[in-house]
């Protein structure tokens, strides 16, 4: 039940939206991520977006992981 899965918003209509999970589309309530727009990624849990994925942070984490060894201290702050 606790699984939260990232997906991309493909439509927004007021508080509800449609999120694409790798081809599977579902109606999702967006009232907790009011700033999210079409094209943004959100983490969805039981039909609600609980967090917008920060693409800049996601890119940074991956860069640091790829630069191992030595780079990890940067994220641990």
């Amino acid at each position: 039940m606790c699984l939260g899965v990232p997906g991309r918003i493909v439509a927004v209509a007021e508080e509800m939206g449609v999120v694409d999970f790798d081809g599977v589309r579902r109606e999702v309530c967006l009232s907790f991520t009011p700033q999210a727009r079409v094209g943004d990624y959100v983490i969805v849990h039981v039909g609600f977006a609980i967090s917008q994925v920060d693409e800049e942070e996601a890119r940074r984490t991956l860069e640091i992981l790829r630069a191992i060894p030595g780079g990890l201290d940067e994220v641990s702050r």
């Binding site: 009011p34 849990h45 039909g47 984490t61």
Partner: protein
């Protein structure tokens, strides 16, 4: 899929494993709080690759929902006017004599919903029936369940109610810090996506225990473990955030607002663990009319656990499923004796589906 596949890269995983091996000079005990994390760790065999003792935490809402509450759900679902709605993984949790799936087979109208808003919709489209939603979960699920009752009230639905059994993570972590010997915690990333991590800062300082907010993919977990090990080796005990792409320090304030509107903090019993002060949520007084316990008068139900189940020790991290005499014999996912064998997030089910057996 974007934001999943990148965090499953086996080459990066191997280099993280090497880093952990190089960094850990002692067999530190690190507890992952959330059952979703347990699932990834056991399935990927992460705990078998690193010189760290991973202790599995109580973070499976299905597992910690008290037996009495399951029995109340069964009593309500048996009523002919009721459509009983629930997340799918609650259906096979054993109550003291039955489970919701068996009740459904006997004719009870039990329906699985994906979102709590589906239950509200059912109440609107079935005005002649009583629609009850089984509102269980941690802080991750609480805002969604809060929104369901807020919407039902806004729509003036009189045939909707909720059976609420909500648990809060930080008080359970305190209970574990007080009793068990865990050196560091991986905090549950999605709970923190909602709540942030400010609540953990005084805990890390008071118990001199590092807490690393961690995601759910293999690389997230390995990086979280490495961050915890580095703190332990350097004698630091801070809250740090591995899961920066999804979690901010103050969490999701819109979600917290909904929770605060619909719920109040209350004492809560955890199945297998017992009562923990201020560790749960109940409906706020203004939503008392939506409380299924009051509406159907099922308050008095009490129950006893199966004697062959050591779920309490499993949930506190003091024993593993391999130490349970019923594991894999009397207790399997098809015929679970205890809740940790039911949900994919339960430690016993995670061990079973990974094919783990006691070493002869």
């Amino acid at each position: 899929m974007k934001y999943l596949d990148e965090y499953r890269d086996p080459v990066l995983a191997r280099s993280l494993v090497d880093q952990i091996r190089a960094a850990a000079t002692r067999p530190w005990s690190i507890m992952e709080v959330c059952g979703g994390q347990t699932h990834t760790i056991v399935r990927q065999g992460i705990d078998e690759l690193i010189p760290v003792r991973m202790v599995h935490g109580p973070g499976c809402p299905v597992c910690v929902t008290p037996l009495e509450v399951i029995d109340r759900a069964l009593a309500i679902a048996a009523r002919p006017e009721v459509i009983f709605t629930s997340f799918g993984d609650m259906l096979r949790v054993p109550g003291s004599t039955s489970d919701l799936l068996s009740a459904k087979a006997r004719g009870a109208d039990v329906r699985v919903v994906y979102s709590p808003l589906d239950a509200v919709r059912l109440a609107r489209t079935h005005p002649e029936r009583e629609v009850v939603f089984f509102a269980v979960g941690f802080e991750t699920t609480a805002p969604a369940n809060a929104m369901a009752v807020i919407q039902a009230a806004a729509q003036r639905l009189t045939n909707f109610s909720m059976l609420v059994s909500h648990v809060l993570v930080p008080p359970a972590m305190v209970a574990i810090m007080e009793s068990a010997s865990v050196d560091a915690f991986l905090a549950a990333g999605h709970v923190c996506a909602v709540m942030g991590w400010t609540e953990y800062e005084p805990l890390a300082a008071r118990y001199r225990t590092p807490i690393v907010v961690t995601g759910f993919e293999p690389l997230d977990l390995l990086e979280g473990i490495l961050m915890a090990v580095r703190q332990l080796e350097e004698g630091r005990f801070e809250v740090t955030n591995q899961y920066a792409r999804a979690v901010r320090r103050t969490g999701n304030t819109a979600a917290q607002d909904a929770m605060r509107r619909a719920f109040r903090v209350a004492d809560q019993t955890w199945r297998g663990i017992g009562p923990i002060p201020a560790s749960g949520l109940v409906l706020a007084p203004e939503f008392a009319a939506y409380d299924a316990v009051l509406r159907f008068g099922v308050d008095g139900v009490t129950a006893t656990e199966h004697p062959g189940c050591i779920a309490g020790d499993i949930l506190r991290g003091t024993r593993t499923p391999l130490e349970c005499p019923s594991y894999g014999t009397a207790c399997t996912p098809r015929r679970p004796l205890g809740a940790p064998m039911v949900s994919a997030e339960g430690t016993c089910a995670a061990y079973y589906s990974a094919g783990r057996t006691p070493s002869p």
